[in-house]
């Protein structure tokens, strides 16, 4: 429990009444005003990528699946690797600001905002695998934003992947993102046979990064690969 909102720095005043007195305290890191601007992904969503379906025109939805995922699953090169993605929140202006301050400005402590929710999604008998950064980017940021999400949720990350070369994803078009050569490889000496794996990343945009990672892991013999991200753009 922090006294001040991690984002807007306003004091968080908690109303103590009988029910809050007896309830187990859960940590709060945002003030109610900021908290209210995080929109949870709920309702009907794509059965693979978790994208809210109500925001899509009907012609872009086929049997509870968004057209992007339909296209991935029709592609012999990509089908069946990523079992399912789950994203916590809609990628709105507010979340964009938080993630940008967290990731690009390097305000590590903001990972705590998501810790309680992520903790609930991390189930046992699963390996929690952060999407790796290149050595240069890791030095530049000082930390890996995906790894920090796992650590702050009280779990240990398993480092299975490494980047083959460095490139900035956020500057690329969807076409470029999907048609990049292999960006990851399995770290030497890692055994993933029959392991259930949960990839962790900050944002699901086209799903390309996560599918590249999933493909490597499935080829290495993983039982299943799912993913969890903070935001679904």
């Amino acid at each position: 429990m922090s006294e001040y909102c991690l984002f807007c720095h306003e004091e968080i005043t908690s109303n103590t009444n009988w029910s809050s007195f007896f309830k187990v305290k859960t940590a709060t890191y945002l003030c109610p005003t900021c908290e209210a601007q995080l929109i949870k992904i709920e309702g009907d969503t794509c059965n693979i990528c978790n994208r809210p379906l109500e925001k899509l025109e009907p012609q872009f939805v086929i049997n509870s699946r968004c057209l992007d995922c339909v296209r991935w699953e029709e592609d012999e090169e990509w089908k069946g690797y990523l079992l399912k993605n789950e994203s916590l929140y809609e990628y709105n202006t507010f979340l964009k600001e938080i993630i940008s301050q967290y990731k690009f400005r390097g305000d590590y402590i903001l990972a705590k905002i998501f810790s309680t929710n992520i903790q609930q999604k991390l189930i046992s008998d699963t390996l929690f695998v952060p999407i790796p950064l290149s050595a240069e980017r890791q030095f530049e940021r000082g930390f890996n934003q995906s790894e920090a999400l796992i650590v702050e949720a009280g779990h240990s990350p398993t480092h299975l992947l490494e980047r083959t070369h460095s490139e900035k994803q956020s500057k690329k078009s969807r076409y470029d993102r999907i048609h990049i050569p292999q960006v990851f490889r399995l770290k030497e000496g890692r055994d993933v046979a029959d392991k259930a794996i949960l990839l962790i990343d900050d944002i699901y945009t086209t799903g390309s990064t996560l599918r590249h990672a999933a493909k490597i892991l499935m080829h290495a013999g993983a039982k299943s690969v799912s993913s969890l991200t903070i935001a679904r753009s």
Binding site: S2, E3, Y4, H9, Q101, R105, G106, D107, Y108, I109, Q138, F139, E140, R141, G142, F143, N144, A148, V151
Partner: protein, 498 residues
């Protein structure tokens, strides 16, 4: 990033050729500073970038080897980004000591738990393994003679203030220039800046607002054509430029360290400078030890006014506008419980009458309201009077366009929050404040708002009305201050009796 100490020099971990004990810079007892080697041929671009600065390694587009060799030869300096005072961290860049604005993280650069400052993180992260880089030789670069290319004349009020500014710049002292809205304070600076530049001094004009930087830069560049003015604001491209005359937001001063002989600080009382200790710290850090500081404002806060009265602060007033007409004083009009009227979808009759009169006569107007949340209620009421009426607030992405539309007379009236209280000038304008008794309308806000009226020589008059539901001290003080300035101006012969 860690360092080893080898032969009384710091060596960046990445450049070590043998295994050595390394430490984060904050953990070092002291930072060895090698003597300047006069035979070293240093990089002049790097000098321009770093002279009078405190930059992070990420802000220096040169290799680690280059930086290391300039350090070893006594040109680049390093300071700790975070220092510990009895184990409590303090940020050396922004002065933050508030422990709730520090956080820790497992750092890939030093592979330890690093403490970082959250207060100035928007300028890049400063942590316990972060050095602040600067330039050792404090002698400024020689610049070409600056000629003052301005043919205007100063009013006698301006001239008096201008002379004072020159004296205080010469003497390296602090001066407050208390100039009424529309006094023409920018022109008052020209001779002072010119004098400073002629003595090879490095000058900075700093202001809390980016808009003002964008407006001042071309203006000052035009009057000092022989030198290249550098402009610093979030997203500006002059980062690597060195200039004897720098225009910067107070935020950007966080990147400077003992850089300026003269700082002219515009709108000292404006948000966010007035409430942000980091920005006040930044101004202090950006000055050389022996330097002058000129404050400019139309509305010094109560503390400063008191210090002026008690003779504890040196100041000069410009009590009149350059066009020699008195400042329009606000008229107070009681309008009852306008909030209640709003729930019925209307505004008090006298307010509606005021608005309607502007529309009918085609006189352009600003209508100040206390809260942004009122816009959705008030805008539709006013749009019934005229469909082109618009509203602006701080977060409005179309703010500039709307202000421009009012200036171009494309819209008759603009509803605004206090965001337009200062910095905007319209030639012929009436202004009303709804709920001038609201807490948001401080004395200085009301003086500034009143200062929007009668700015141009062609239209020196205008109506300023405070619609209220009870008088406040701020309202009375604001009116008193305007009246006092007019009285002083009259006594000094700075306005013509009408």
């Amino acid at each position: 990033m860690n360092f080893a100490v080898l032969r009384e020099k710091l060596v960046t971990e990445a450049l070590l050729t043998t295994p050595e004990i390394t430490q984060a810079i904050t953990s070092l007892a002291e930072i060895p500073q090698p003597p300047t080697n006069p035979n070293f041929s240093f990089n002049r671009e790097l000098q321009k970038l770093l002279l009078g600065k405190q930059l992070l390694i990420d802000e220096i587009p040169y290799s680690l080897e280059d930086i290391q060799s300039h350090y070893e030869n006594g040109y680049i300096t390093m300071r700790k980004g975070i220092t510990l005072n009895k184990n409590r961290p303090q940020c050396e860049r922004c002065g933050n000591e508030d422990q709730s604005l520090f956080a820790t993280f497992p750092c890939s650069r030093c592979r330890e738990i690093c403490t970082y400052c959250r207060k100035c993180i928007m300028m890049g992260r400063v942590s316990t393994c972060t050095p602040l880089y600067g330039w050792g030789d404090e002698n400024d670069l020689q610049h070409t003679d600056a000629t003052l290319d301005w043919t205007g004349t100063l009013s006698s009020g301006q001239q008096h203030a201008s002379n004072q500014v020159i004296e205080f710049i010469k003497a390296n002292k602090e001066l407050l220039v208390w100039a009424v809205c529309g006094a023409g304070k920018t022109e008052v600076l020209f001779e002072g800046i010119h004098h400073a530049l002629s003595e090879q001094k490095r000058v900075c004009v700093a202001t809390p607002r980016t808009d003002v930087v964008l407006e001042l830069t071309p203006r000052l560049q035009a009057v000092f054509p022989t030198i290249e003015v550098a402009s610093f604001y979030g997203g500006s491209e002059d980062r690597q430029k060195y200039s004897p005359l720098t225009i910067a937001t107070t935020h950007q001063l966080l990147r400077f360290y003992k850089a300026f002989d003269t700082i002219i600080l515009d709108e000292v009382d404006a948000f966010p400078y007035s409430v942000d200790e980091a920005l006040q710290f930044a101004v202090k850090q950006a000055r050389k030890d022996n330097s002058s500081l000129i404050y400019l404002t139309a509305t010094p806060n109560e503390q400063w006014q008191k210090e002026c009265r008690q003779g504890k602060r040196e100041f000069v007033t410009i009590p009149a506008r350059y066009h020699r007409h008195p400042l329009p004083a606000p008229e107070f009009v009681w309008c009852g419980n306008w909030n209640k009227a709003l729930t019925k979808g209307t505004l008090p009759a006298n307010v509606m009458k005021w608005l309607k009169h502007r529309i009918d006569t085609g006189k352009h107007a600003l209508f100040f309201i206390p809260k942004i949340e009122l816009i959705p209620k008030i805008l539709p009421i006013l749009q019934k009077l005229h469909p082109d009426i618009e509203a602006v607030h701080a977060e409005d992405p179309n703010r500039k366009e709307k202000v421009k539309a009012l200036r171009n007379k494309e819209i008759p009236l603009l509803i605004t929050t206090t965001i337009l209280e200062r910095g905007v000038t319209f030639p012929n304008l009436d202004v009303a404040v709804l709920g001038s008794d609201d807490r948001i309308f401080t004395e200085s806000a009301l003086v500034q708002i009143s200062g929007r009226v009668g700015r141009s020589a062609q239209f020196p008059n205008g109506d300023i009305t405070f619609f209220h539901y009870g008088l406040t001290e701020s309202m009375l003080k604001a009116r008193k201050e305007i009246q006092n300035m007019n009285k002083e101006a009259l006594q000094k012969g700075l306005i013509d009796v009408e």
